[in-house]
């Protein structure tokens, strides 16, 4: 790893996916690969702060690495606030400061069935998970989402692994999602599988409850507001299983389901 892992790289491409509502666009951002000599692991994240951002946006923003090859690093984001709105205004050739790869990563057992549980933008790390897995036939993706599938890189995943999705159209749908998640977690426990999950906290909480109930190995990727991404600001903590604060950026973002407390 280089002495200075904060670099300015150019935007290779930036494209809204599908036809999301204005102000809620889901965007694929491709950047020049930052040249990490030691590579990266699936589940890790980067901090991104465009060079053009003035001081009214102080922090970089954390994003899961969606995928990468020797030349390009891809992230996905949904426009939800000031930072992501301004990110969408980037154009090809613009410079962004990027530091990473940061944090912990998902396990990738090649000889166990793996259930990937994605909620909304939580689908992002699973693009890289599928691409880099030696036995994709062992993988299954369950995807809970609100915008239509065309807004996500779902087609690319469904061409490679077994997939299942539920669209949440009305409040009652959440019960269907919870029931299906619980059934799937139980099923993968019975066949000594691993569950890996990424999505909103209530989604992860459902998975954690099921994993603990059935004694299933599960790894959960948390997201949180961060100022630094490197363990200095202590702004992104969550409770560990003993009730102590631990940093999502450096102890996570990927935690074993038994290691954290999402109920508080």
């Amino acid at each position: 790893m280089s002495a200075n892992n904060c670099r300015a790289v150019k935007v290779v491409d930036i494209t809204p996916l599908g036809h999301s509502s204005p102000g809620e666009e889901i965007v694929e951002l491709k950047l020049e690969y930052p040249g990490w000599e030691s590579g990266w692991r699936v589940g890790q994240f980067v901090m991104i702060r465009p060079v053009s951002w003035p001081l009214d946006l102080i922090w970089g923003r954390p994003f899961s690495i969606s995928s990468a090859d020797d030349t390009t690093l891809t992230i996905l984001f949904q426009v939800v606030g000031r930072g992501t709105k301004r990110l969408m205004e980037l154009s090809k050739g613009d410079s962004v400061n990027i530091w990473g790869p940061l944090g912990s990563f998902f396990s990738k057992p090649k000889d166990r069935p793996v259930l990937m549980l994605a909620g909304g933008m939580g689908i992002a790390p699973f693009c890289g998970y599928v691409d880099s897995h030696q036995q994709p036939e062992n993988l299954k993706l369950f995807f809970a989402h609100r915008p239509p599938l065309e807004n996500y890189p779902y087609k690319a995943l469904s061409d490679k692994v077994e997939v299942e999705d539920i669209q949440e159209n009305k409040p009652e749908d959440i019960h269907t999602i919870i029931a299906r998640v619980e059934a799937l977690v139980k099923e993968y426990g019975e066949k000594n599988g691993l569950v890996v999950a990424c999505g909103p906290t209530p989604f992860l909480r459902t998975i954690q409850r099921a994993a603990l109930k059935y004694g299933v190995d599960a790894e959960l990727s948390l997201e949180n507001r961060m100022a630094c991404g490197v363990g200095a600001c202590l702004g992104c903590v969550c409770k560990d299983s003993e009730g102590h604060f631990t940093q999502v950026c450096t102890s996570g973002p990927v935690f074993k389901a038994t290691a954290i407390d999402l109920e508080g």
């Binding site: 790893m1 280089s2 002495a3 200075n4 892992n5 904060c6 702060r49 001081l55 009214d56 946006l57 102080i58 922090w59 970089g60 000031r82 400061n97 530091w99 507001r225 100022a227 630094c228 991404g229 490197v230 363990g231 200095a232 600001c233 202590l234 702004g235 903590v237 969550c238 102590h244 604060f245 450096t250």
Partner: protein, 305 residues
Amino acid sequence: MDMSVDFAGLKLKNPILTASGTFGSGLEFKRFGDLESLGGIIVKGLSLKPREGNPMPRIAETPCGMLNAIGIQNPGVEDFLTKKLPKLPWKTLPVLVNLYATDAAEFGELAAVLAGEEGVAALEVNVSCPNVKEGGIAFGQDPRQITKVAEAVKKNAGNKPVIIKLSPNVTDIATCARAAEDGGADGISLINTLSGMAVDIERRTPRLANVIGGLSGPAVKPVALRCVYQAVNAVKIPVMGLGGIATAEDAAEFLLVGATAVQIGTANFLRPDTAFKIVEELPKVLARVNAKSLDEFRGSLILPK
């Protein structure tokens, strides 16, 4: 240009340090630059016992700044001394420890723990944290308490320089600076964060669980510069300036009003290599403004007649 400075007997290779609370234990930033190129690092505030800190959310982004109410979460002084300090290149990098306690006696006790630690170059005493319910800012707003804390720490600090970090949330910063000097402090640093608040009109809630937090970042720079200017003119002991410094030009402004050294805080979040870049850039900025030396430039502000 020779960038070395002597701050209250502390030999620094340059006047750029990193501010407590924004640079972790220092180890977090090893991958972003050469720690030993810095004038020094000031580690996250330590207390005698571990502290859990405040509930989430603890941080909020504000126009040109940020609010925080971390609440001095830290693993306790012993944990730092045994697990973190040995991994830092303290023989060539001055490591200053920031102290937090709830009364003068406890500050003294903490100083005594650190007095014999070879790897600790100096003590910075936080009498000004606005984010904890007990103590904290109450010290920083009462000059008699500032003197009392300075005396307690100085008495127990052995030969280590004692720097009192002052709050800007006072009516007269010069009085507070003099109070630190009266207590025997070897230097002062300022400013800590400004007390602030942010709310969410959609949810009708405060943005911080603690409701009120400390404002830092470029937004506070004019206040910090004014406080440093007034403090420099109030005391004979050296002053470290901090508050909103994000570029070498910002650092030069603090030196111009008389600061002996400066600290880089929230700007470490803009880019994690900001402090390293300021170390590189400051000599160029001083050369550009025709400074003959750091000593000649320091405090050379020309006031209107």
